[in-house]
Symmetry: C2
Subunit: 351 residues, 2 copies
């Protein structure tokens, strides 16, 4: 090898070595692109995998999936939040895969009907011309995105749909039109005022026809204190949400929680709303590690109860069992240690 | 160049090209390592830069810095949260740099005195042998980490210290021993029971000697509903926090807020606590873009008020002014558009 070539090779190597190492980054997800035949466009998807996803010390696990609308706004804190809340020993929820969907034509995708609205600031402008595409968008999610996620990642058959504003409208509409698509729905300050409250009519129609929602479905609605909006902007936002609340609570067949956030406005309510929503949806998931020391079979009892409530079979994860085992060992609870050792080997036999 | 060399070169190139592209990642920060002479060890620091930090469309801006203890647990959601809450037009806080400090010897660094404690689960075990190093740790932050951050990043002279449990104990201790180090302090479920409530004594001593806290200091305390812990674990946790609250509220010289979270336990309270804390610390930061359309000088009035409250000069960011300008333009508020255009060019003259 002549010396000029050696020099070139060395430089090339150093250049790429620097490029790849540089600063070590803290990542919370990866971007994927898939082409949607239904929508006839490319869609960008942001995917967060839980901390243990690539842990080679445990058997490969499967995880519930949370589908998050307006991905570009909510993905980063949501990914961090789901890891934080799923961290043993205080885990309030199972570790989840979070799938953020980035918008292309937001109004088109999230609204259930074609409807315009005069701009509240300038009445010459008609907003939302390109609306009414939500049925296509949910078909994209159900027929294209979900199979894509299940094919490429290890998923458990349990999913949640999370939206805000038009995204909340979309979530409620999916619950009414395809309740079987998701196990739980989160609607932060949903735009139920849309098109003369068309979803209020749909809710009434649904309940007239079906009487009840399917078993084990969950809906969390966060309502912001839109005092400002009430006066200047969206005077019918609050009223439509309250009307919906009344109908749902009266029917009583849905695991439903509504919370009014007096210190939040329309743009901020998703942050506490999404946190409280997962706590509501996964209520009963947390087990008290200290109680298990004297009452080890409590763990399976509580998981059984939680599984019945959600209509889905949830098992203590191998990661959680390892935390429990470590606790029993370090505090010298020998009997419980043996119990959980046996349970671990029953649930997660070594390959 | 002979063909074997060409082949080698091509392969090397492809290998590194793949390595650098692969999947596009979503990053929320970068890791840095610095050697601390004070602590005589290497420390890993996680740094989150706000969305506009590298925006070449605006003048390079300076940002307040939030120092976050237990970085490895809280960094990811906190980084996402600070971006979410700083997003115009609903921004409740300025864009901030978040500096997460990863633990090495947590108990050593965060506790103010040397003290042991019998394990509540097994009384033969004495916990916290290696305690009492907080004065060294705060010297590391003040004399080494802060200069490192200011040298490598564009920082505004405003900083916040955030901690949980022993980290909350640490934050309160820094407020008492070096109140000038930070503008605001956040203590989530602080371990004020530490060493026979030594910080309660220090608080009393401080107020006896100084009468008041320095002007413009802020402290937010989040208290979890540790009912379980009260019974089984840390019976003095709650009591010490309440004692502290009483002393501080009676003195009245601190911008102080205490909130009890009835649905949170010790391990989860930081999540809502950190959110509510920034909303408390930066209360008055948010301006209503719709009001500005008819009353443009309101923006400077509100920033002036906020600057007086915090004792720090805050200006509307160029990014926010661009959002305001866009709003005025698209809604045809010509006079306000001109006003904000002039203000933008006054505050951010083109280079």
């Amino acid at each position: 090898m002549n010396s000029r070539l050696k020099f070139l090779l060395l430089n090339l190597f150093l250049f790429f070595a620097l490029l790849t190492k540089a600063q070590e980054k803290i990542t919370v997800g990866e971007k994927q692109t898939l082409f949607s035949t239904v929508l006839n466009e490319k869609r960008e998807i942001w995917i967060h995998l839980p901390k243990t996803y690539n842990d080679t010390g445990i058997n490969p696990a499967k995880y519930p999936v949370i589908y998050l609308l307006d991905g570009e706004i909510n993905f980063e804190y949501y990914a961090g939040m789901s890891d934080f809340l799923a961290k043993p020993p205080y885990a309030e929820m199972p570790e989840c895969i979070v799938v953020g969907i980035k918008n292309t034509e937001r109004t088109r995708d999230l609204t259930p009907t074609k409807s315009g609205k005069k701009s509240p600031v300038n009445s010459n402008v008609v907003l939302f011309g390109d609306s009414g595409g939500s049925e296509n968008f949910v078909r994209f999610i159900q027929e294209e995105l979900k199979p894509f996620i299940s094919k490429n990642y290890r998923t458990q058959d349990y999913s949640v749909l999370v939206g805000h504003s038009f995204g909340g409208l979309f979530a409620v509409n999916v619950l009414l039109t395809h309740p079987e698509y998701f196990n739980a729905y989160v609607a932060n300050d949903p735009s139920l005022w849309w098109d003369n409250k068309v979803l209020i009519s749909r809710t009434k129609d649904y309940l007239e026809k079906n009487k009840n929602f399917p078993a084990h479905k969950f809906l969390y609605v966060a309502q912001a204190d839109n005092e400002e909006q009430n006066k200047n902007w969206n005077s019918d936002m609050t009223q439509a949400i309250e009307e919906f609340k009344e109908i749902i609570e009266k029917n009583g067949s849905l695991n439903y929680k509504h919370h009014f956030y007096e210190n939040e406005v329309h743009g901020t309510v998703s942050y506490p709303g999404n946190y409280d929503a997962v706590k509501f949806i996964f209520k009963g998931f947390r087990t008290d590690i200290k109680k298990l020391s004297k009452n080890p079979q409590l763990l399976e009892e509580e998981y059984k109860r939680f599984s019945e409530k959600t209509g889905t079979n949830f098992l203590p994860s191998e990661t959680y069992l390892n935390v429990v085992l470590k606790f029993m060992k370090s505090n010298d609870f020998k009997e419980s240690e043996k119990y959980f050792n046996d349970l671990k080997h029953k649930l997660y036999p070594k390959k």
